[in-house]
Amino acid sequence: MAVTRRGALFGLGSAAAAALGASCTRDDAARARDVDAAFAFSPEVVGHRIRDGARVEPSPDAWRDLGVVIVGAGVAGLSAARALSAADFHDFVVLELESAIGGTARGGRTDVSPHPWGAHYTNLPRAENVDYVAFLRAHGAVEGLDAAGEPIAAEGAICRDPDERSYTAGKWFEGLLPVAVMNAAAAADLAKLEAQVARWAAFRDARGRRAFALPRALGSDADEVRALDTQTFAAWLDAAGITAPPVRWLCDYACRDDFGARPDAVSAWAGLHYFTSRHRETGDGSAPVLTWPEGNGRMVDWLAADAHPEILTGLAVADVQPLEAGGVEVRALDVATGAARGFRAKQVLLAVPQVFAGRLLRSFRDAPPAHLAEFVYGPWLVANLELHTRPGARGYPLSWDNVPYGSDALGYICATHQAGNDWGPTVLTWYEALADADAKAARKALLSWDAAACRDRVFADLRSAHPDLVRRTTRVTFARHGHAMVRPRPGFVFGAAREAAAQPFRGVHFAHTDLSGLALFEEAFWHGRRAAAEILVAQGRTG
């Protein structure tokens, strides 16, 4: 049981092993071609079919009358459904284009393990996010409150240690900070960034609000805070003298991870939001990460379980038309059969990105409101790699989040990690935010790749960190999220477009994370509840 001398000897000796390991053979390319690659679901195909909404015309007997129709079973739609159910309002359906619920927070599963298809974690909320805390507590992810009233996360829900590692210079290191390339200048710049984060974490405006709260609506709109929204994060970093490449990489990684864009395309407010909203005065300085093998798919299931709404999946809404006489007509296409279905409701909630709202809502199609053009979305590619055995690695062991330093992608999550499943086959969920400044071009490129091209992209990205990956992978499946994340470009978060977009329009209400200017579970959850409250008022129920 004791560690032997031999251990020390081999620790040194095996350093030698890696030098050779990095060489990659010609069969690798051939092997890679044999790895089965496929798209898991292709909403864009349906998307194109419904672009021209007018052609979907349900027969008279295919219409249903309801109090409310929710379009979109993502987090926002389900959160609204949950809030309606909680108010004892049940006269509604949820229509979802996909075969399963969850949207960008959807989970999936293979024979080996559940895994995410998109969002994979949330941060332990502060007490001020009352409804979210209550939700997590009801499902056991929060096990109680501490003396200060702040939530305590359940042990099984907090990301299991080892949580993060990064690959630099031939070796894995604990944590995301690329320690192997940190030098004195980088350490000094990191200290500058940390000081700024601490400063903004301590900030309270005249009304006692934080600079960066979750949900965003609870945060400050004081002038100093708004000033951060007028410049790019890159410009702000330059001005703060934070220029060392390792620290800039960390910032770049953070922006791509949270916003799907680079620091020169998002506001300083957004960049600081990433670091500061997670900052905690206690523990190791950051809020515990909560995660599940299927990622936020777990919370999606909880929302659905709480609401137990009628959800019609595989139904693509093609047209939403407010009527002169009041009420709204919704026309939808059954994706499998091609049959048209109609719904008449007093209120409709569009729980989809605004770019889709603009296509679905007939009046918006005819005369697009100015605010729509302000919503810019970056595309994402997500891969689930099924491995028959785990990749070998030098240095720090396989962790939950594994990030190669310097990569343009975001590394991968190990789906079996949180379950304590440490042996044999696993599933790795690999992420890439296509962070080109030109989001449209990036989206076009993404949609032009076939599954084999996507597979080559993943393997190329991970080749140096895991030369043995190809031969361990049995299958790769992909999700392409064309409008994955709204980009908090300078001026967007405090601009007029977001507020304009959230205003109900002739019986049509809006809820989606993009209305916060950020793509986060907390925001989608909050907007779902906000819209549900509006709807209940409109329904004559004062909530």
């Binding site: 049981m1 000897l9 040194l12 092993a17 030098a19 050779l20 240690d161 042996w423």
Partner: protein, 506 residues
Amino acid sequence: MDRVPLLFLNVLVVATCGLVYELLAGTLASYVLGDSVTQFSLIIGLYLSAMGVGAWLSGKIERNLAMRFLDVELGVAIIGGLSAPILLLSFARLSWFPVVLYGLVFVIGTLVGLELPILMRICQDRLSFKDLVSRILTFDYLGALVGSLLFPLVFVPKLGLLKTSVFFGLCNAAVALWGTWLLADVLGAGVRLLRARALFVIALLGFAFTQVDLIEGLAEDDLFPDPVVLSKTTPYQRVVFTQSKRGFNLYLNGNLQFSSGDEYRYHEALVHPAFAAAPAPPRHVLVLGGGDGLAVREILKQPGVETVDLVDLDPAMPALARGFRPLVELNGDAFADPRVTAHEADAFIWVDTAPAGRFDAAIIDFPDPNNFALGKLYTRLFYQKLRRILAPGAAVTIQCTSPLYARLSYWSIIRTIEAAGFRVHPYHATVPSFGIWGYALARTVPFDPPQRLTVTGLRFLNDRELASMFTFPADMAAPGADAVEINRLDNQWLVRTYETEWRRWQ
């Protein structure tokens, strides 16, 4: 002659390589034999004196100086270059490993000692004596500096010991090959054959360079103090049985799991206190880990046991416990008993699948928490999961590493079990192969440490010893409350602490 400066470059390389071989031998010797001060002193002394022998021997060489010089250099290349692999492979035969070690050091030292005097004589008609001595010695000492800097700063961290060794052998051989051109005018007839020899040495070392991993793998077999009688690599671990005069030993991943000579102490202390503390004779018993069947052997001594469920990650262990003769004899063929069922699973996941309230006693015998995959089996969450499948009043014993060698780790486990809602009585026993070993006895209700065993005729435990195991001397007693943390899945405090604590004892 204009080639003389190039010969000095040769001196530099030769000196660098010479120093590196010396450092390699010193480093390897202190790794495997310990006591680095003694090892380094011995090896430096021996090496320098061997160089003296070489210098003296150089006087015996009369003719064909250039040829002899290059042959010596090739000899250094081969022996020096392969020195680390040879030493590693011969480490196992502890009885004569020092002979190999010091012998090699002596041979290399002698060869290196031959080099400079011969080279000086080769150059003697080309330079004045004054210049010759000053230049050659300058480059010699400079080479030593280069070697002493490159070795710890660049080569060992980047290449490891084995590759460093072979790499410098290659350098040496390459310089020798180059020398066949530099000294062409004095080499005479044999030059082609000499080049062939040099190329052969380079090819040999080049091949060795690509085979270093294999050599390490081979060496691993040999790195046990006793002869290996069975070794098996499973997807989970490397299982090795060694045989000594006193009995046989099981190693998992190179870590000793038990020694047949004293394992009864460990297993009696692990199993019987749970039965002594249980409110009624346990009928359904759970064993987590312990695929060797030795804990099961003890459990089957207890009256009233109806079922034993054993969960081990690695199916190879129960298979060996059923089929490997010495182990079958030791565990009394425990797995042949119809009451025993072995499950192949990670206990962390398996406990969620077992029926609630099922077990009257649980014996937990995981390897020490030296990695994260094992550390999870010592977390509060794991003990909470375990609680679910225990019957009311059930008693649990847990192996908890050594309270002496890893005091904070030990008490962290105790506090963690308590934090999961158990009442815990810590206890310990002496197992010579391991030292002082620690356990926990836990129940979900308040209880006193047991006074009376429920079986008689054990080799180690009797009632007196049972009671005394629960008292702790000062150097193993609970440290202050702030010194240990609860081990949680999200902090794995134990794994981090355990590593630091054991490192001190290496």
